[in-house]
C-alpha cells in the first residue's frame, strides 16, 4: 500500500503540468493567429470582430462564473436543508 502511495503519477510531477499548460497556451495563441490568416464566413455582423469567438468564449465563461458565484449567496443552503 505504502509503495502505491509513493508512486508518482503523471500530474504529480510539476514539470508535466507545466508542459501541458504550455502546450495549451500555445494552442490558444495559434488559434487567435489563425483568425487573421484564415478567412471565416461572416453570417452575423459581430462575427467580423477579430477573434470574436475567442473573446466571446472567454468573456462568456467569466460572466457565467461571476453570476453563478453571486447566485450562491441567494440560493445556497446547507446540505440537509430539505431534511430538516
Amino acid at each position: 500500500m505504502s509503495e502505491k502511495e509513493q508512486k508518482k503519477y503523471f500530474f504529480d510531477k510539476p514539470k508535466n503540468v507545466q508542459w501541458t499548460m504550455r502546450i495549451f497556451y500555445i494552442i490558444c495563441v495559434l488559434l487567435v493567429l489563425a483568425d487573421f490568416i484564415i478567412h471565416r464566413h461572416i453570417g452575423l455582423p459581430w462575427e467580423e470582430i477579430p477573434a470574436f469567438y475567442a473573446l466571446y468564449g472567454f468573456v462568456a465563461c467569466v460572466v457565467l462564473v461571476v453570476i453563478a458565484k453571486e447566485m450562491r449567496k441567494i440560493v445556497m443552503r446547507k446540505e440537509n436543508y430539505y431534511d430538516e
Partner: protein
Amino acid sequence: MSELPPFALYFIAACLVLASQGTVRKVILLATPVIAALHIWLNIDTGTLSTYAILNFELTLMRTDKLSLLFAYLFCLASFISTIFALHVNDAKQEIAGLVYAGSALGAVFAGDLITLFIFWELLAISSVVFIWARGTERAIDAGMRYLIFQITSGVFLLAGALAHYHATGSLAFGNIGLESVAGWLILVAFGIKSAFPFLHSWLTDGYPEATATGTVFLSAFTTKVAVYALARGFAGEEILVYIGVTMACFPIFYAVIENDLRKVLAYSLINQVGFMVTGIGIGTALAMNGAVAHAFSDVIFKGLLFMTMGAVLYRVGHANGSDLGGLYKSMPKTTVFCIIGAMSISAFPLFSGFVSKSMIMSALMLEDYSYLWLFMLFASAGVFHHAGIKIPYFAFFAHDSGLRPQEAPTNMLIAMGLAATLCILIGVQPQYLYSLLPWEVDYWPYDTTHVLAQLQLLFFSALAFVWLNKRGMYPPELHSVNLDVEWLYRKILPEGVYRCLIFLHSIKESVMTAAIAPMYSIRNSFSQSSIAKYHLSESWPTGSMVFWVSIILVAYLLLDIFVYR
C-alpha cells in the same frame, strides 16, 4: 412476425426475465435490444401502419416513418449499452423495469394516435421510477414519489389534451397539433413536463441524482428523448419553443457551475442539451429539425457515457460529490479517458458527436435571423464546455488529490463506456451515417474551416477562462450544499405554508371557542344561581346516567314489542 410491434418484444422479454435466472436471464437482457433492432431493420418499412380497434376508436399502434425509425434505433442502441453497463446488477426489479421502460419508449415513438401515446407515456413514468426507488434510501424514495407525481401529472395533461383534441377535431391521430386550441396547449404542457421545460424541470434534477448508479444511465436515455420526439411530431415550427429552448439552454448552466453532486451537474446539463433540441424544433426548418433529432441521437450516447462514468465513480467510491473527489485518474485511468471523450462530445469539439449535430441547430438559428438568440446559444455552448466539459472530468479525476484510490470500473461497465465512446467518435468523424438516417432532406456538412476554427476558438478560450479563474482563486469551490431551485416551492414553501395556515386556523378556532364558550359559562352560572336550579331535575347529571335511562326505555320498548303487541 412482421406485424409484431417492437415494444412487444421487450414486454415478452420482461416476462421471460421474470421466469429465468442467472446466465439465461443475462442473455435475454442482452439479446432483446439486438433482436428488436434487427426486427425493425428487417421487417418494418417506412409507411407501415397497423391499427386496432377499441370500442369505436380506430387506434394506430404502429406508424412508421423516418422520424419514428430514427428514434427506435436510438432506443434499441441506448438500451443495449445501458444493459451492458448494468449487467453486474442482480436485481429483477431493475432488470424488468429496464425492459419495460425501453419497450414503452419504443411504443411511444411508433404510436400513431394520442391514446396509444398516452398509454406508453404512463408506462414510461411507472417503469422509470423503479430506478430511483431501487436506491432504497429514504431520500430516494421521497424523490421518486415527487418524480412520479410530475410524470403522472404530465400523463393527465396528455389525456385531457387528447380528449379535448378529439372533441374539437373528431380525430385522435397524433400528427402536427399546433397551438391554436386549448387542446394544443394542454398537450404542450404534457410534453413540456417530460422534456423539462423551465419551471417544470425540477423532477429531473431532483430525481435523477437519487437513482441507482446504473439507473440514471437508463433514465437519461429515454424519458426526455421521447418528449423531444413528441414535440418534433406535434409542435414543429411553433415559435414559442425557440424561446423556451433558449431559456432551457441557458439557465441550468448557472446551477451546474455551483452544484456539488456531479450527477446533478449532469442532470442540469441534460436540460441544457434538451434546450438545444427544443430550439431546433421551434425553428422548424428542415435543417433545424434534422439538427434537433440528430442532437437527440448524439446526446443519448454522450450523456449516457457521462452518466456511466459518474455511475462508475458512484459505484466504486459511494458518492459523486465534486468536493470529496479528485485524483481518480490514478486508479481509474480507463474511466477517465471515457469521461474525457464524453466531455469533448458534449462540448461539441470537432471530430466528436456533439459537433456534427449541434452545429446544425446553430446554423439554422443564424439562417432564420435569430441573431440575438444565437448569441445566447453561443453563450450556452461555451457554458456547456465549462460545466460539463471541464468541471466533470476535472473535479472527479484530476483537481486536488483526494487520496481515494478506488478500483477501476468493472469490465462490463468498461465495455459499455467503450462502446459509447467509440460511437461518439465514430459519429463525429463519419457523420454521414447519422445524416443518412435523418428524416428531412438536407445537404449539410459540418466540417468547413469557419466552423471548425470558430468552435475551437470558443472552446479553447472557455477553457482558458477556467484556467485563469482557477489560478486567480476566483473559481467557486465545490461545497457541500444544496441550491434552491423550483422544487423549493413545493418542498419548502408549500409545506411551510400549509403548516402556517393550519396554525392560523387553529388560533382562529381557539379564539372563536373562547368567544363562544364564555357567554355559555355565564349563562350557566346565572342559571345555577337562580331559584329553579334548586329542583332535582335541574341539577347537572352525568352523561352516563342519561345513557342508562335511555337504554332502560329502549329495553322497555323491546319487551313491549315482544310480549304486548304480538
